[in-house]
Symmetry: C2
Subunit: 428 residues, 2 copies
């Protein structure tokens, strides 16, 4: 085989970028892969659409599934998206037909990664998905290959550029959430319907994949506990700064007593942690391994070019015959961990309450914490004038999420607490 023959399904942002990259750096890629990569066929929804990539000499196929059956194709590259439907059908058909399968589709891998890995191994082909998490950041290969000697204990990441942009701008310019979101939309960093991003579901898909790689497990998306950033106010960013922290939407996966804890939520990150320094639309992932210690990768996650960089690195791996196990270990050996749930999650917490400053309000709040045996590390009250609402911020000593949930319920029902309390863990 003198070249690797591929087919690409999906010519949107990432698909177009991948075609452009393969053409622009064709000679370089051939020199590094030891063989050239040729695009034999493509498929996309609308053949007539004007695209900024050159499709000359490439067959057009209307039904993507047809790509899986071509004799002149060694590897299928799926860049359509979606956990079900055409993408899943194509994955299953390609692998069953002995084609390598490369995808940028986080939803597909988070939902069906285990089954697809088994299918790939059965058919002795490679399942690759570097572009499914954190765009251009090669975190999949790093965890799967570079850290292969390590027992990984925790993976934490800023996995959604939209949320990180919004939180960064709220902190820099005291923008309200809605205004920061609008700005992100105007700059093309947020979708018209932003809910998948700001409610944390996009990050949850990526976290499930990272957790699977870290712990040699099947992705278990359903067990990821998710909380978005809609409830964050500019005041939270200000108080976080006062406390030496930044607010970040963080995905965290770790093993707790043999159970798998997976959560996506806004947290206070001390500035001494490198993740706190990651600003704007950048993504970053920090992995802890028993020998390597903390390793952080930071880079561009959004856009055609960085994502195409990751897709092409998978293509070159396939061309070179580098085919590690999809999730680090043989699909047959993938574990299924019981979910740990967050209830026992221990740590310090940040609480912000909007209160009417009547006599006794702090006494009421303190009593609720005392009743749960939670002691306070700090309490900040900024009173403007009697009867005008103002914030009260509390930093607790170490407690657990279950106790904090009860505290939250009780605080929310206090008459002088006039908004939903904002509660965030403080990362250590």
């Amino acid at each position: 085989m003198s070249d690797l023959r591929i087919a690409i399904a999906g010519l949107g942002t990432v698909g177009g970028g991948t075609v452009r990259l393969l053409r622009a750096n064709a000679a370089l890629i051939a020199a590094r892969a030891g063989k050239s990569v040729s695009i034999k066929a493509v498929s996309a929804r609308d053949k007539k659409k004007k695209r900024d990539c050159d499709l000359s000499g490439i067959d057009w196929v209307d039904a993507p599934i047809a790509l899986a059956k071509r004799d002149d194709v060694d590897a299928v590259v799926e860049l359509m998206g979606g956990a079900e439907g055409a993408a899943r059908d194509l994955a299953e058909a390609a692998l069953a037909n002995g084609k390598h399968f490369i995808t940028a589709n986080k939803a597909l891998i988070a939902a069906h990664g285990g089954a697809l890995a088994r299918l790939a191994e059965k058919n002795k082909v490679h399942l690759a998905f570097e572009a499914s998490v954190a765009g251009g950041i090669p975190i999949i290969k790093t965890m799967r290959e570079s850290l292969a000697g390590n027992r990984m204990t925790i993976v934490r990441g800023i996995l959604n550029g939209t949320c990180n942009y919004i939180l960064t701008r709220m902190g820099q310019s005291q923008l309200a959430f809605a205004d920061a979101l609008k700005e992100a939309q105007q700059k093309g960093f947020a979708e018209a319907d932003p809910s998948a991003d700001i409610d944390g579901h996009d990050a949850a898909n990526k976290l499930a994949i990272l957790a699977a790689l870290a712990f040699g497990a099947e992705p278990d998306l359903k067990s990821v506990e998710v909380e978005g950033i809609r409830n964050i106010a500019p005041a939270d960013l200000t108080f976080a700064e006062e406390l030496g922290c930044r607010v970040r939407l963080i995905g965290i996966a770790r093993l707790v007593d043999g159970k798998l804890e997976q959560g996506v939520r806004p947290v206070l990150v001390p500035k001494s942690l490198p993740l706190a320094q990651v600003s704007g639309v950048l993504n970053a992932v920090m992995v802890h391994g028993d020998f390597v210690g903390d390793l952080m990768l930071e880079g561009s996650a959004a856009g055609a070019d960085p994502t195409a960089s990751s897709v092409v690195s998978d293509i070159i791996d396939v061309a070179r015959g580098n085919m590690p196990f999809a999730f680090g270990v043989s699909a047959a050996a993938l574990k299924k961990f019981a979910p740990a749930g967050m209830a026992q999650h221990a740590g310090r917490y940040y609480i912000r309450l909007q209160v009417v400053d009547k006599p006794g309000v702090v006494a009421d709040i303190s009593a609720i914490l005392r009743d749960e045996a939670i002691s306070m590390e700090a309490l900040i009250q900024r009173s403007r004038s009697i009867d005008e609402p103002g914030p009260v911020v509390i930093v607790t000593h170490e407690t657990n999420a279950e106790a904090m949930r009860r505290v939250f319920e009780k605080l929310a029902s206090v008459k002088t607490v006039i908004e939903k309390p904002c509660v965030m863990p403080i990362e250590e």
Copy 2:
């Protein structure tokens, strides 16, 4: 072949860590590599030395070269160090005998990487050196494999933890260079003879390897222009902070008009660049690729465990049969670039002068800059009292290194300038 059989030469810090890691995570490694790794033989200087690794069941060999000739060894791991002598002999013998060769030896690879890569390819075995640069940070694999689709344009790194620790401490606590060095030595972050670190030669070896990977060239250590950090004063850290920057010893490699610029020197890094946020003994490397954009990896570079993590990732690659070209492209295709030299390096510069505050001193200094057509972006003078020496700091607009060299000579000869001027480029 049911397992990968290795031999290890050198049982110092890294060698001991590698043995410990291979034993501690043996089952995990076998699951990820698809086969187990067995240590057949070791060699080190002193057989009687007490070590914190278990050598039971492993043959001891006095002469490391004997490891290259054993029929029961598939791969030789060299952790002795040194560009010549035993390490080089072992590398050449192992590769010539068809053994894979894995090393943590930056000096060996920087000096002989091209020749060893050719020897490896000729004998169809792998030459791997992940641990030679930045300890636990997998920058070699990242550049060689993850960024293989990119045309890399610049690589910049904090490649020496000792220097970064000293500069961090000088900035945090206004320590003099000598005091920060002494502290680093007490904490085990600097050697008794620290010159290889603080004069930049350690970082130069690593930079030559990164440049080779970025541009598909043979390592060219001799062309790296090197300047260490002995000349930095606490005042420089203070002024840098005022200018929104941090001082870091940075290795930089880039192509300029088809020539290769390689330099290691202290520079002012604006805090907006992620490299400025890397503190203490950590290392970090930032690579720019035409599609991926800026990618940064940050982690632990020193010590037994992180370095062992990188050695073992190479061992697992060999076990899996993943054998990319040592420097990204075939050894036969490796280029030799003419050195660009720094003379034409364009950018802004920081200048600190220690002056006796006599009338006319600023006029004299300004005239020297004017004569080289260099305009000033900022001038800070902190006069204490007449006739008491004090600092003058200048930030230039963009100029080039050649002009700055002449300015340096002229400034150094001004009578009222009483110390060697400190000149640093400002990274953009």
